[in-house]
Symmetry: D2
Subunit: 349 residues, 4 copies
């Protein structure tokens, strides 16, 4: 990547220009970090709310001296002139207020919010709020490359998946696709690192409260539950029911998902590992382990480590991802690579 600033730089004809909308949060920072290493993408425009603007090296001290761009308030004209694609790192509800404008400005959009993930508006509105951009919702593609790579190629609007759904679905996709489990029996028990809570300080995430702690939250109401059900159902080609229970632990990065489900009759322990290895053999970012995954092995990477087992008549499927990479910014750039025909792993290996 070439870091542009006030000085003119030579740019490869191949290079695409990337804007990050809502660049001041953790997924913005992670996107910047990945794009530093991307050979075919140039970071050209960073925006945030006025009170969060400033030189990148001041907003994020870890980028001191590494990037000459400023984070600025969004100007759609400037966006239109300076970018080919926008990573939209805004929160849900806010995002669907901006995405139509970004698309109208002529850029492709990879949206990090939930606003374009849930195809059934009624489900969306039950868990979130009234949907104000149903036209684009109908066109958006769910950006999980392992299941929807072909659809992603042709779209202008990618709904980048939620972090928990990414881990949970990759843990059981081979089973769902092969129809080996009862799609009504899925229990997803996950533990996320605390970066999942975002950048705003709060009592629960105050260090002396969160350190040495682990607790469940969002009992029965977490918004990633319907997202999991939608994608699991599409993979299984039938209605799926998912009971999802998230927990948060005292580490920065990573999600460990343990999925419990009921195999169809006749499923044998020894067929699981070959099934997974076969299903994921050409996937650049999913690794089937010989043992269970650990969040630290994938921290800072776009990899997902998965492992299935059959215990006492039930299937346990494990996955580990980095919530900020494969669960957010890394997957977004994987999607960007697919959109623009780059090698899918560019900037991510």
């Amino acid at each position: 990547m070439i870091l542009t600033g006030k000085m003119p730089v030579l740019r490869s004809a191949l290079m695409i220009r990337v804007a990050i909308i809502g660049a001041s949060g953790y997924t913005g920072a992670e996107s910047i970090r990945i794009l530093f290493r991307h050979a075919e993408a140039e970071l050209t425009y960073l925006t945030a709310l006025p009170e969060e603007c400033g030189p990148v090296g001041e907003v994020f001290p870890e980028f001191r001296g590494r990037c000459r761009l400023d984070i600025e308030p969004l100007d759609l004209d400037k966006l239109s002139q300076s970018a080919d694609v926008a990573l939209c790192c805004l929160p849900h509800k806010v995002s669907m207020g901006f995405v139509p404008k970004l698309l109208a400005a002529g850029v492709k959009v990879i949206d990090f919010s939930a606003d374009y993930r849930i195809r059934d508006v009624q489900v969306y509105e039950k868990y979130y709020q009234p949907h104000t951009d149903q036209a684009n919702l109908a066109k958006a593609v769910y950006g999980l490359p392992e299941l929807f790579r072909d659809q992603i190629k042709g779209t202008d609007l990618v709904a980048n998946p939620g972090c928990f759904p990414t881990g949970a679905i990759l843990a059981i996709a081979p089973l769902l696709k092969q129809g080996l489990i009862d799609p009504g029996s899925i229990i997803v028990s996950s533990v996320t690192g605390a970066s999942g809570a975002g950048k705003n300080p709060s009592a629960k995430f105050h260090f002396p409260n969160m350190n040495e702690n682990l607790f469940p939250y969002g009992i029965g109401v977490h918004r990633h539950m319907p997202e999991m059900e939608q994608i699991a159902g599409e993979a299984a080609e039938t209605k799926a029911t998912v009971l999802f229970q998230p927990h948060v632990g005292c580490f920065d990065r990573g999600i460990l998902s343990t999925v419990y489900c009921q195999p169809k009759q006749g499923v044998k322990a020894e067929q699981l590992l070959p099934l997974y290895q076969d299903f994921y053999q050409n996937e650049p970012f999913v690794q089937v382990g010989k043992t269970a995954p650990a969040v630290k092995d994938v921290a800072g990477t776009n990899y997902c480590h998965v492992f299935p087992a059959l215990v006492k008549g039930r299937i346990l499927a494990f996955s580990a991802i980095d919530n900020l990479v494969k669960g957010a910014s890394g997957q977004a750039i994987q999607n960007m690579n697919i959109l623009f025909g780059f090698e899918e792993t560019m900037g991510l290996k």
Copy 2:
């Protein structure tokens, strides 16, 4: 507690004398810590393997200047003369080699190992090794006061429960006792702090490996699974099946257990909290929360925080304990208090 050493001390007529066998590990240290504050128990004798002996303040720098006892190799005559009760903190297999001798020396025994917990010898031998002390096994009482308080009162040998079973059973005991769940549907998904691994260094628990990490282990083979099944079955008065999956996280103390199970038809969300509050209303160490528990709230205490919920037709029951206290040394001293007729909370409030 009076700290005895070389100097003569006055001792209350009421005071019992406590030995710790295998005092050099984490549960030994935690037992010492609790007994410092016990008004009716005097720590008189500490033993360990020869290579782990020495002044308490050198074996455990945190006790520097706080205890004048030495940790010594076990001498059964000395034990016989100096203690009324032994906390036996040895590992399984080793423990059943010593417990008969401790009992023969005339002391009551509270055993921390698994050797006297599993009543069915065949089950024990499947998960552990041949049992060499079946006579005492038949007499031992499972030391979970909330379910077996009356039996504990009259015994000479308490099998102190495993840490995971303590948390898991307390999370669902009200449901089991009331017959409100299908006892074949129990899934226990737990995360323990790293002190659960004990004192010996290993690659997995080397700080740079364990820090910022969380991973599952013991898939399908963890030895606390049959212990949970036994106690759950006794509580439900029918055979229970438990799928237990432990994970370990990067914190010192605590176990968060999330139990997923199938309610019997007609069970309603609104009856759960009153049921739990009623069931535990007289229990000094079980607190029913209005929200889900957090491991940090119980760290360093003998408390168990529990919380039930009904989500999507399934019951979720949560519990948090400190694995070294309610999951080991605290529960042992709670049992000791019951054995000797002390106030049950003595030294533990």
Copy 3:
């Protein structure tokens, strides 16, 4: 301790009644925790700002079921009737607004703020703000028992020392008292755990920022610097100059202080350890190690571990304390024990 609430309880004639003013913060919680175990003190009255009031078990979930008191807004009449001593856990400036009223209500006061620590009003006003209670300032005793035990006995107002000064002064008190170092050469380099920042969430202490981090702060301006100079000067009976640099690390509790200073000519390495052992031999809470201290060894205790060394012609003196215990609430209760003639270690062993 007897936990009073709505029900009448019998109280020992010996028991003193303790109020905590500003009970909703970390030092309030730590004081409550210690008083649970105190045989001669009864917690009778807890106050806080109206928005932080409520049942103790709701303000602090870790005390759920352990204390029936409510935290209430301060009422001086009620204080007067219900307490013999007040632990005043208010911040500086706020504290000196209340302490005169607490004293006028007829209770002894142990004040946790800096308001009564700095005897020179000009120094206080340079680092803090105008002093509004100089009358009581003149009477207050600095509550470091190891240096000022006799004066503490007779006072009504104890200025409980700062956490950093406690660790720093105990690390070098034997040297100061014996005149073995140049009092103008003292450099105190300390690392505190994050609980030192208090209960209010902030960006710096947001878990994803503070975790895996360590950084200096308060460069040249930390308010514990003049406090150290005052006490060091009194101990050395001459003017002392202290350069104090605090850092904060990613752990909950503890302060490790490394003090660098210049020995007077002729000081030998081999005289240091005997000097320290002799100086602290009768101190119940200061332990001289054979090796350097570690914060975890003193976490949760009122102990201070110290160790001196002579390296390359300079003296290094180390100390470790728990900032919330020996650095705040534990030392306050040690002072309370001295004030009321109890065994000094009561509730603290």
Copy 4:
């Protein structure tokens, strides 16, 4: 970087081939991680002790699926044929047994051990052991690019600096070079993350011991002390004396060094920041902050953040580095880039 394995790959004419000797430890892993992103270097050969060999993805689960190389026992012929440069990640003493053979095999060597850092054999032998390769010692260049860039360009053997000396020297190099401090007054007080202890499990670094802990070690005897003195002396062009005290804290990566020293008369606070900014203005990896550095800001990067201050007549200079990157593998690859005429930041931005 192109990952070579059993399949033939096209290699750029410009590409250099890199071997890592002793690849199974933390600095080996970090070197691999960086080389994944290097555009002009190809990782061709990885060696370790036989018991630590195997596919990279098994030795390091985080590299599962990312590298097809095996770690093999060292074969000098194979090295000679497959590499242009060797990163020698062996411990001191072992290293000087291999380096002559590596050089004889015709590869340039960047050595991570201390064996070629200390120019004065007597000093080396006092802190380490007899030196067995004084011939190469005389030719080695100390690989701190900010001070010795020109010498590095022409050498075959780079002595990659120690982690603590890197941080300490960069913190005060501008002062030393300008003669603004008394070179006899330098005190370096550092805190390192626990990865500094290496990969072998030990009691001190067992998670339950190291977590929530911070302690000093190596009092008066740490081997980086003479290394600091040598480089400080060369920078100041006079003999320097350094008192170095390391501590270890409960985080993975990073060293925060706080250097205390005596300014020459007349040095003013306001000249420090401009001096540092000027001195480091062309350095790609040293950033002068407006505030003090934090280890998390540099974790995972090759950057060093520095900040000077003048307090009470003394200078405080702070630096933060990642001990595994700028303190080891990153600096090695920076040196490699200099050796081979690549852009100095390649693979490291």
